[in-house]
Point group: C3
Chain length 186, copies 3
Amino acid sequence: IRDFKADDPFPNLVPDFALHSAGAYVVGTRCTVAYNGQASVVELFGFPVLAFSRSPTTALEPDTNLGECWAFQGFPGHLIVRLAVPARVSSVTIDHAAREVSYNASMSSAPRNFSVYGLESSYTAFTEAVILGSFVYNADTGPASQTFHLNSTTERYWEYVELVVESNHGNEMYTCLYRFRVHGLA
Amino acid sequence: IRDFKADDPFPNLVPDFALHSAGAYVVGTRCTVAYNGQASVVELFGFPVLAFSRSPTTALEPDTNLGECWAFQGFPGHLIVRLAVPARVSSVTIDHAAREVSYNASMSSAPRNFSVYGLESSYTAFTEAVILGSFVYNADTGPASQTFHLNSTTERYWEYVELVVESNHGNEMYTCLYRFRVHGLA
Amino acid sequence: IRDFKADDPFPNLVPDFALHSAGAYVVGTRCTVAYNGQASVVELFGFPVLAFSRSPTTALEPDTNLGECWAFQGFPGHLIVRLAVPARVSSVTIDHAAREVSYNASMSSAPRNFSVYGLESSYTAFTEAVILGSFVYNADTGPASQTFHLNSTTERYWEYVELVVESNHGNEMYTCLYRFRVHGLA
């Protein structure tokens, strides 16, 4: 079984245990408030954006075209995923739409500080979650897909993994999570 | 903010203000008649094709696999798009399925002559539309994705852009528009 | 009209007459039993997989992300396809998810021995089907997409093609067909 290598630049060539088509799904978002893109909300130069809201499941799907994200308001944002199969977690990937295709060359809605936790069950309180690592998504100089490695692969198999986004890159209205992947050993 | 460069061969790496997932949508097609692929219509060697009809929104989505197009009859064909955010328009891209994957090596259903207009509102009459440029999609020797540059980036921000397809490459039954993109500055 | 070449490594650049978006569709699967992924079925280390069942049409669509397959039980598995347009068949392609993205580095659910038939009509009994070729999908050392060439391009045009999967690479519960393509001349 092949694990993700620290110098491997191709997250598309390793298993993603959070992939929706393979059986992973979102079991909860705790108190996270979805951003629903109402007409009264101003997006760019006073122009109201009417894009419809997408479900958090969007973050477990490969499509990262502009707008194909789960948008939420405030911090922290929680995403609890039941993995397709339990895994010893070694790394995670956060994807965002590329800066080149954004309308104002901005990555302001991208996650910045985030942490990853393992959960005993889908009912585990956040205070009981086991932290696996804390990271920073580098929207300024990094690529659209960034992989973050735990200090070591977890010894135990986790069936539930929780992503907690603690800040973004400056957008005061919402954070957009395009994709969250979980790598490791089955 | 990065604008599309005349020698840039990669329309996938610049913003597309007509992208559906980002919030753009079709507000009208004027009197354009959709081609509905009825069983009585002969497609190839007397064989009736029963493919179902797709909505014009298909032309604002990335998928250009064979058949993933908006088919319409006669000329001109109109597609009025409300951009995801208003933009100073600098260029547009027309995509068609590659000749290599077509069943008879034909690009006959591809647009040929077309023009692009800016509209004041979604109710603007065609006679009031402001022409931004007229172009020819080269299906004979060009690539599947072709980008066309205006003489200069428009000074004003357009919220609505209209594509008018005036001819195709010989198909007498329908024209297939796989994708229409609008580039510029937000 | 360009036919598939024996040394051409790019099945994405030749026509696929079994492509769903182009008008091909599944007309039947004979007595093949779909695998419905019930909770009582053990998938990996005693962990029940609850992924929902996909229709056989999935095998005529480009997406080969993990799980994007038609799963069936037992052998043989039959898939009868009405081609988008009748074709003189020259080769077929079987796609499976890449070993690198599977959770246990296994290709056990991939087809192994299979045969391809031409049918007079959608009602043709299997005993009346005309065999076009028998092949082996090499999951051990081959790529995820494998193209198989008939001894010669069929002289007649086939409107219906039947894939018969006779064995897989060891999975005792189900076989997963990610994609089936048919190449040739229109």
